[in-house]
Structures are given as structure tokens and as C-alpha cells.
Subunit: 114 residues, 2 copies
Amino acid sequence: MMRGHLDGLVLAVLTAGPAHGYGLIEALRERSDGFFDLPEGSVYPALHRLERAGLVASGWSEAGGRRRRVYSLTTTGRRAAQERQSEWRSFSAAVERVFGAPSRPASQTGAVTS
Amino acid sequence: MMRGHLDGLVLAVLTAGPAHGYGLIEALRERSDGFFDLPEGSVYPALHRLERAGLVASGWSEAGGRRRRVYSLTTTGRRAAQERQSEWRSFSAAVERVFGAPSRPASQTGAVTS
DNA sequence: AGCCTAAGCCTAGACTGTCTAGGTATGAGT
DNA sequence: ACTCATACCTAGACAGTCTAGGCTTAGGCT
């Protein structure tokens, strides 16, 4: 489950250069050491969503008799990629703070002390 | 937006001791240094979901004339809390790998090289 | 020829989790 | 009387992901 972070990851991959949907899935799998093995039904809609939002642009190309729709970042997409990344960092840091926070006295959270 | 990580965070807070819904929201806000300021409409349903799943148990208590529903971890909930945390770590690590991955040659991702 | 797999694209609908936006009630302070 | 903080709740909207299909071409195998 990608839980809303898919867009940022797709944009991150595209930062390194244009890619088509199928290759993007492979790139995500390889970059994550196999952790992200996303179904096409997740990635294609995400790409369409990003294109509708103007963050990526697409064009058709041909390779080995197979047609590919190749996506690349727009200018706003490149900016969005950086934003998503820094949003991730602060989100991730906040989660870590919650996980790593020290125990607090039970009285602060309404625990039953009797 | 909590993007599916809310359960893990709630369980993490409850690991430190029982809490009621409203106090849990405050605890999440404080632990995250203000980053997580969750609406009640997110947290209460999450608690009910966790209770239905048997990960937390609740009971009513009274404090200052106000009734509180206090939640605490069950045994399976305590185990789930650890699982969620380690799931988070591997998820987070995978995301970091994607963000931090070096650029690869365009040919690997179907880029238009012409 | 027939079959299977990999490479490539797509989408409708189900599902799930979060948030919006409302509601109720008590106690304390002005 | 009024407002604010505390404390609970839920229906329905919304958004993102996944399931489960569909389509096509190329290439390998029998």
C-alpha cells in the first residue's frame, strides 16, 4: 500500500530522466530493492493524475515494435518533486518523533490511575 | 493527511500507557512538535476501528465531571504496535532509497534518446 | 500452428482511510 | 448569558490504491 506517497515517488524517479509507465514500475522496484512492486492499476492512474495536474507531460514513442507513452517532468513538476520530497522528510521526521518519544506520566493522557 | 499510518501512531502512543481520544490527539500533537494536529473525525473512527480489530480495549472513566473513554492496548495490540513500527521503518527506508537513488542511464527507463 | 510469457497500454468499480461538518454535553471563566 | 475548552460521536463526501479484467505485439517453445 502506497498511502498517498506514490506521486512523490513517481516524481522522484522522473527527476532522473523521462520514463514510461512500465519502466517506471521497474525503476521503483529496483530503487527500493524490491519493496515497491506496484500494480499497473496504481501507477497508470497516478501518471494520468499527474499529467492532468500539469506536473508531467507525455508523448508516444516506439521501441522494438511496442508503443510507449513516455512521461517527463514539467517545470512545475520539477518544483513539485522537490516539495514532495521535503514534505516527506518532515512527515517522516514527525512519525519518528512519535515512535521515539519517551513515556509520559499517565496523568497527562487520561489514564485510569486508580 | 495521515495516509494510512494513523493506526501505527495511535498504537505507539498507547504503548506508553492508556489514553482517551482527546488526550491522544494532544499527545500526537506534542510528540510531533505540532506536526500532527488531527481532527477528531480522524482519531475517533480510528480508535473504534482498532477496538473492533481487538488491538485496543476501552472503558469509561470520569475526570472533572467529564466522561472519558479510555483506551489501552491489548496483548495483540502490543504486538501489532511493534509490527507497525517495523513496517514503518522498512517502508520509510524504501522511500528514502527511491528518493536518494542515483540517476540511471535514460535507456533503462524508455526515455526518448533521439 | 498453437501456446505461453514478457512487454506495454488501459479502465471500471470496489475498497478503505481520512476529513468535513455537523451534532451533543459539561465545567469554568467573563 | 455567553464563550471557550474539554470530551464524545457519526454520516457522508472525498481521494487514492488495488483488483480484475481488457487489449496488443514480439519472441520463444513444442
